[in-house]
């Protein structure tokens, strides 16, 4: 019987990370931006039925890039976490921070213990309320690394370039239309094509909405916003 090969832990982690990164970089990218009235999430996603962006709870949204079935599983786990917590305590006690930590733990465990790591990155965003509480954006990587981002975040294949672009162009207090146009420009920064509303999935955590802040922006409204630009949020 042949002896099993010895692979150093260092090498093993490196291989896994490379594998996961490769999977993620094949997928299309996603950006999120804070704007005047909330948090905007923009994904390049030609499908109108398979979503990358979704509602988790009153003030919390989820976005994932990479392998669909893997982040879809994480999305449902997140909804379950939030709903059970909100039911047993109160709606106000459901926070993005706790959820982001849970994702981080889950992805970290999968990365170290399973043979195949998840090829996903996920983002948890929580919009602050009208009396000035800060918005929160958490970005969780395939190995459980968690970062809290300020103002904007990008993930997916060309995340680094997009982040650099946003760093130069982001302004605070943009209108929804301006934020959307900036987001779309950011998504195309590495490619030579223009994105129309048909290639996009856009949702917003709208601070001005009552209770459930999450709202998808339908195709027609998206076309108008992309055409007009500086409309109020």
């Amino acid at each position: 019987m042949p002896l099993p090969y010895y692979v150093s832990p260092e090498q093993m982690m490196k291989d896994k990370a490379e594998y996961a990164r490769k999977g993620i970089s094949r997928g299309r990218s996603l950006v999120t931006l804070e704007c005047g009235d909330g948090i905007l999430l923009v994904a390049e996603n030609p499908s109108t039925l398979l979503h990358k962006i979704s509602e988790i709870y009153d003030r919390i949204a989820f976005a994932g890039v990479g392998k669909y079935n893997e982040f879809e599983n994480l999305r449902i786990a997140g909804i379950r976490h939030a709903d059970v917590k909100g039911y047993s305590y109160s709606r106000g006690d459901v926070t993005a921070k706790a959820l982001a930590n849970a994702y981080s733990q889950a992805l970290g465990n999968i990365f170290t213990q399973d043979i195949k790591p998840f090829e996903v990155e996920v983002l948890v965003a929580e919009v602050g309320d009208t009396n000035g509480a800060k918005s929160e954006i958490y970005h969780i990587l395939y190995d459980g690394t968690i970062e809290d981002e300020r103002n904007y975040a990008a993930m997916g294949g060309q995340a680094d370039e997009i982040r650099r672009f946003l760093k130069d162009h982001y302004q605070e207090g943009m209108t929804l239309g301006d934020a959307l146009q900036l987001g779309v420009r950011a998504l195309t920064v590495t490619q030579n094509k223009t994105l129309t509303e048909r290639d996009l999935e856009v949702a917003v955590l709208d601070r001005t909405k009552a209770q459930r802040k999450f709202r998808r922006i339908p195709l027609e409204a998206l076309g108008q916003l992309l055409g007009a630009g500086s409309k109020p949020c």
Binding site: I79, D83, V84, G86, S88
Partner: protein
């Protein structure tokens, strides 16, 4: 066994259900699953009269604001009509504690389904789900903690408002025009029987439902009428194509005062 594992995913129909999730992972949070005690609590708090009726734009739901414990008033400002989602609401009558818990669980159930599946349950599906939840409460109901809600909503497919009543076993019966539940329900129903007309406008529908509630408060000791001293008025909600809406208290007050003034003018008080 391992080869069968993927197949189990297809057989799991409860994937989008919050109640099943609780049962599986936090059974201590499921209402009505605890060990049944032999005796019913002496005097549980009871909610009294709720009603619902169809009108031109959809359905209207109304309820008085009083809860009683035996012959005592337990609360004067209790809310009995709950929004269960954008297009439906549930009015509770019976033991207030379990009923409110059920309304909250039902609301979470619908929201959970909507988020996981990315679309709403049909009105029929919602009504059936509520019926299953009432059935879960049957052991408690046998001990006196009866919960019998009214469920009403706007059916997007059919383009009409619909309403359902239930019995303690979870039996679900669709009513075509109007219904009332709770201790004053008989009086409210009698009143609705005379006043309800097909395709009423919002104003008329509101007036008719408040007339019925005031009649119920008149005849039934448990039901609270408009309280002019404290400024407490019945709660009225409308459910239409454009969603679940509260009727502002000022408007309810105006209609109530109109009804009472008319009755005073007729001088015999009826």
């Amino acid at each position: 066994m391992d080869g069968e594992r993927w197949r189990l995913l297809f057989n799991d129909y409860s994937n989008s259900s919050f109640v099943e999730l609780l049962r599986r992972e936090s059974p201590h949070l499921v209402p009505g699953l605890g060990p049944a005690s032999a005796a019913a609590p002496a005097e549980p708090v009871h909610g009294t009269t709720v009603l619902s009726m169809r009108y031109r734009d959809g359905v209207i739901m109304a309820g008085d604001r009083q809860a009683t414990a035996g012959y005592q008033v337990a609360s004067r400002r209790i809310e009995k009509i709950f929004k269960s989602d954008e297009l439906s609401g549930v009015g509770i009558a019976g033991a207030a504690g379990p009923a409110m818990e059920m309304a909250k669980l039902f609301q979470t159930e619908l929201e959970h389904y909507e988020k996981v599946e990315g679309e709403n349950l049909s009105l029929e599906g919602k009504a059936n789900r509520l019926s299953q939840m009432i059935r879960m409460n049957l052991p408690a109901a046998m001990q006196g903690l009866v919960v019998v809600p009214i469920f009403a909503g706007f059916d997007e497919k059919a383009g009409v408002g619909r309403l359902f009543k239930y019995d303690i076993t979870g039996g679900r019966y669709e009513e075509t025009n109007y219904d009332a539940q709770g201790s004053g329900s008989k009086d409210a129903r009698d009143s609705l029987k005379k006043l309800w007309k097909r395709d009423m406008a919002r104003e008329d529908a509101m007036r008719v439902s408040l007339e019925a509630l005031i009649d119920a408060a008149d005849e039934d000791v448990g039901t609270g009428g408009p309280d002019l001293v404290r400024g407490i008025f019945p709660s009225v909600k409308t459910i239409t194509r454009s969603g679940f809406g509260d009727v502002p208290e000022d408007e309810v007050r105006r209609v109530c005062e109109g009804i009472l003034a008319d009755r005073t003018r007729n001088s015999d008080g009826t």
